[in-house]
């Protein structure tokens, strides 16, 4: 079926099939649940109420203006609110690197960073690396060197690798391994990941 070829329509299709409740669950959590949370917790702690603030970001070159619950991590903003599901939630505790994105060109764990702290900043996710249909050289290298199996850590690996190369931490295999150590791969694709990064770096990625 043609619709399965396009990730956006595939996601929409699954939502429709699963029914209304699923659509609510998959949609942005902010507006729907903030009210409930605020009520429940204001009973428990009179001084703390949920705060919603305006936030402006440039994401993959596109200006975005939102109102967000201040508790929203950058990762949840990307995935839940903006439907940019390329960045993954592997551990949600800054221990696996699957959520790695670039903020003002520097790699960070988006799961441990509140979205509101990045007001006015530029975010690049895995979705923003390609130039239209033209893959980023690091993406091409990962494909050519089979740098993934299940693919779950891969967006984080690639974003991290892009920054790693820009930082200049790719002098030899050992340096690549050390400077990519913040990205875990349960499938064990490490040797191929190192090869991919070496090639991309050599080609001036």
């Amino acid at each position: 079926m043609l619709i399965f070829g396009n990730p956006e329509t595939r996601r929409k299709f699954l939502k429709q099939v699963a029914g209304t409740s699923a659509a609510l669950a998959l949609g942005p959590r902010i507006g729907l649940f903030a009210q409930t949370r605020a009520t429940a917790s204001s009973a428990a702690s009179s001084t703390a109420t949920a705060t919603t603030l305006p936030l402006k970001l440039k994401i993959n070159g596109r200006d975005v203006a939102l109102n967000v619950d201040t508790r929203t991590t950058l990762l949840d903003l990307l995935r839940e609110t903006l439907q940019l599901t390329g960045s993954k939630k592997g551990c949600d505790h800054g221990q696996c690197g699957a959520c790695t994105v670039l903020v003002n060109g520097r790699r960070i764990n988006s799961c441990l960073s509140l979205a509101v702290t990045h007001d006015g900043e530029e975010v690049t996710t895995i979705e923003g690396l390609a130039n239209g249909e033209q893959l980023h050289p690091v993406q091409t290298a990962f494909v050519e060197h089979d740098g993934f199996q299940c693919g779950y850590c891969t967006p984080g690996q690639i974003c991290s690798a892009v920054a790693c190369i820009k930082e200049g931490h790719v002098k030899n295999d050992d340096e690549i391994r050390e400077w990519m150590s913040g990205n875990l791969c349960r499938c064990g694709a490490y040797p191929n990941i190192v090869d991919a990064i070496k090639e991309a770096a050599a080609k001036g990625a």
């Binding site: 705060t51 690197g97 790695t100 790699r107 764990n109 441990l112 509140l114 509101v116 920054a163």
Partner: protein, 330 residues
């Protein structure tokens, strides 16, 4: 995560006033420890004061004395690779690079790293009922529990947690001074007085007041600090906390040690300045026999628990190894 009010401080004064008027407010910089602890329900501030935009990220030579001032908001990655640090205090650069991951180091700040909380399992997971650090009087789950990563020096009956920071170990060896600003003005805290031993108040990690913001860490000029090294021993080759670590700085003249600065990580509630080892080194020949004697002196008072007694011998050997490395440096 509990709801909280959020404000962005425009200057240090605004930040400290906000913290001073709310005992349950916390400063937010990189957030790599605080946000994690908030997700776990361990930290539950009702207000976050975002200090990320304060102009406190400088790394510069100090006008008088030749030391280096590191801004409280300087990112760990920037400090680690700054020429002044790499050249004059390599032990600090090595310590920072040994910690966390590149992603975490890009967010983590000097101030935040100083205030990093213990990784003790019983502290980190509120499902464990016994933790005198989280809840005074509730007991210590680690003492008779799984205590592999816990302290062998300076502990008390109430708490055997360790300070997990690598940066802190190097700063301890370098006699850094922490500059802070609060509602009552600015003050300087010598590094040895910044972190506390658990004693009967394990719920208090540092001597920093709730309204005080860390504005800078000053490194005194130590010409021989170019001869320094950080050795980290851990279960994995990278991206793991220290089981035991050593920051070592030596001044060797004609084969004899004229000055020594040694600090240990992974062994105590605070970065452990190895004063007994230092005393046993000064004036001695810089050889393995001397290093081992110094290590034995420092660890003589060490006490282990069911799962961490290996740290005592490991710490001694790590001291010898670190000193051997430094002694052969140019």
């Amino acid at each position: 995560m509990n709801p909280f009010s959020y404000t962005r401080a425009a200057d240090a004064q605004q930040a400290t006033n906000a913290a001073g008027s709310n005992a349950s407010a916390k400063f937010l910089a990189g957030g790599t420890n605080l946000i994690d602890l908030m997700k776990m329900g361990v930290e539950r501030p009702t207000q976050l004061v975002d200090v990320n935009r304060l102009p406190l990220a400088q790394i510069e030579e100090m006008p008088s004395g030749g030391g280096v001032r590191i801004g409280g908001l300087a990112r760990n990655s920037d400090v680690a690779e700054h020429p002044l640090i790499v050249q004059r205090y390599p032990v600090l650069s090595e310590a920072l690079l040994a910690g966390a991951s590149p992603q975490l180091r890009n967010l983590a700040t000097t101030g935040g790293n100083l205030l990093q909380r213990t990784r003790c399992y019983y502290f980190y997971d509120p499902a464990f009922p016994q933790c005198n650090k989280r809840q005074p009087g509730s007991g210590c789950g680690a003492i008779n529990g799984f205590n592999r990563i816990h302290a062998i020096l300076g502990q008390s009956e109430q708490c055997i947690a360790t300070n997990p920071s690598d940066m802190n170990v190097a700063l301890a060896a370098l006699d850094a001074v922490v500059q802070v600003q609060g509602t009552n003005g600015a003050r300087s805290i010598p590094f040895a007085d910044f972190h506390r031993l658990p004693g009967s108040t394990p719920n208090v990690d540092t001597n920093l007041r709730a309204d005080e913001l860390i504005t800078a860490v000053d490194l005194p000029a130590i010409p021989f600090a170019t001869r320094s090294h950080y050795l980290k021993v851990r279960d994995r080759a990278s991206y793991a906390f220290a089981l035991v670590s050593v920051a070592a700085v030596l001044d060797v003249q004609d084969g004899r040690i004229s000055a020594a600065r040694i600090a240990l990580g992974g062994v105590a509630h605070k970065p452990w300045r190895a004063q007994k080892a230092e005393a046993a080194l000064v004036g001695q020949v810089a050889d393995e026999k001397t290093f081992r004697a110094a290590a034995d002196a420092e660890l003589a008072a060490a006490k282990g628990y069911k799962h961490n007694s290996f740290k005592i011998e490991l710490a001694k050997r790590a001291i010898v190894r670190a000193l051997s490395t430094v002694a052969t440096m140019a």
